[in-house]
Amino acid sequence: MGNFLLEMQDLTVMRGDVLVLRDIDLNIKRGEAVALIGPNGAGKTTLFETVMGIHKVVKGDIRIEGSSIRGMGTERISRRISMIPQEFATFPFLTVLENLWISKNSSRRKAMTDEIFQIFPALQEKINQEASTLSGGQRQMLALGMGLARKCDILLLDEPTLGLSPLMTQRILNSIKEISDRFKLSVLISEQTPLVLNISDRVYVLEGGQIRIQGASQELKKDERIRKVYLGMAV
């Protein structure tokens, strides 16, 4: 059990009267990149938000290194887990530097930013520009940088390439891989693009609030059914 950094067991979540997640079992080891794929409305975002303590857990448990975080407030959870939401992942009218500054736990304005700028040099040039003036790709880089600045060992990424061009999608995914390897982070990344299989170790397929399929990325990549149904790839 102690093997896993983050584990969810029998996780069941309701929003209003609707059962959104049912009996989810999902584990991530230290330093592992795990993909969560599934169609819109499958419950990916709800799953992430539940881990962050936004929604109430009806049944089951969420644990970090074996100790339960169920019922814990978002403020405390955010010290261990950093989540980058799907849209509006940056503060539009704060500068790049301010965005990074308020994201990190240290109160020094410049600390830690050097490492982030090494990975995303494009951000350094725009350090004093408001986030709303950045391109979609740069804004996503900033969001990743903000996630890194928190110095948590678990990173939750909710569709980080949504709305980006194929080229930028590839670049962002590569950076995520780089970040995860370099800082030994455990990353859970939800996606709709098949490219995510290239950078992840394992995959969970979520549909209708339940885990339907799970396995190693390399094996599921070959699975014709997955390619067709869940990732919308033309065969």
Partner: protein, 291 residues
């Protein structure tokens, strides 16, 4: 004459800014249109007046009033504004609910105040701060004080919001409260502190208004009205806009009463409001707000 107009205009502008500051701050930070903010400040002022009548130490009287205003302000925020705002999931519908609820409070407060304090009029009798001569025009200590506090209320928040991490986090909350929660900001605590500060400034505004003019049961409603008018004209939630409008209204009110007579003050003010709403519907200095 020109000096008279200018000095009166400045001290009026100071008071207007003080009254609108709470409205502006609460709306700017949390998106909460709290119409009860005027009566909250007035309640504190009434407590101070009663304590003064009982011949308590002036410092104690001010502290009691300030404490009452902050307490009432925070309680209303926690038990009226936030539950109403969240009852339908926030957003514009939540704001409408807050307007209904706090408008109800606004109507309720005069009756409560009358029952508790058994009086309609209150005179703030603070010790005199002297009368000064500036450019051949006399100005009372309290008029000067209102200008000074207004300036401080402009400069200090400007510094906090742009230079400190806490202030930058508050700006973050105004732009995206959900993301703020995710990066570990205690958004509810920020709302509570904001409500306290808004109540405190409303109280200071009420005390200075009472010292320079006088207070009655309806004064709270009037403070709310002026506060919102100024805040809307400045661009809801914009501190810079509120200051600009306070100066404009201070000048227009002062010039009107010196040149054509005090009866026309409200007419001119309303005319300015209408013109601003036609030509700058989002206010003179609109704020940037995402969600």
């Amino acid at each position: 004459m020109v000096y008279d107009i200018m000095i009166t205009a400045l001290s009026l502008a100071g008071i207007y800014f003080l009254i609108s500051f709470g409205v502006t701050l609460l709306y700017g930070v949390g998106g909460f249109p709290n119409l009860a903010i005027g009566p909250i400040g007035l309640t504190g002022a009434y407590v101070t007046c009663s304590a003064l009548r009982a011949n308590l130490n002036v410092g104690v009287c001010l502290f009691l009033g300030l404490g009452t205003a902050v307490l009432v302000g925070v309680l209303i925020q926690k038990f009226v504004v936030e539950p109403l705002f969240n009852s339908l999931g926030g957003g514009d519908r939540g704001r409408i609910f807050v307007i209904y609820g706090t408008f109800g409070l606004c109507l309720l407060f005069p009756a409560i105040l009358q029952n508790v304090f058994k009086t309609t009029m209150m005179n703030v009798r603070l010790p005199s701060l002297g009368i000064y001569k500036i450019l051949h025009t006399s100005i009372t200590g309290y008029q000067l004080l209102s200008i000074g506090i207004a300036l401080a209320l402009f400069v200090v928040p400007h510094f906090i919001f742009t230079r400190t991490k806490g202030g930058t986090k508050v700006r973050g909350v105004t732009q995206n409260a959900f993301l703020s929660r995710l990066i570990g900001v205690n958004v509810l605590r920020i709302y509570t502190v904001t409500a306290g500060i808004a109540a405190a400034t409303a109280y200071i505004g009420a005390i200075l208004w009472g010292e320079i003019f006088s207070l009655e049961l309806g004064s709270g409603t009037m403070f709310t009205l002026y506060g919102f008018m100024i805040s809307v004209m400045g661009g809801l939630g914009s501190i810079y806009g509120a200051l600009l409008v306070s100066i404009i209204l201070g000048l227009s009110t002062s010039a009107t009463s010196f040149l054509i007579g005090g009866v026309f003050e409200h007419i001119i003010t309303t005319l300015i409001l209408i013109l601003v709403l036609i030509f700058a519907p989002r206010g003179l200095i609109p704020t940037k707000r995402e969600v």
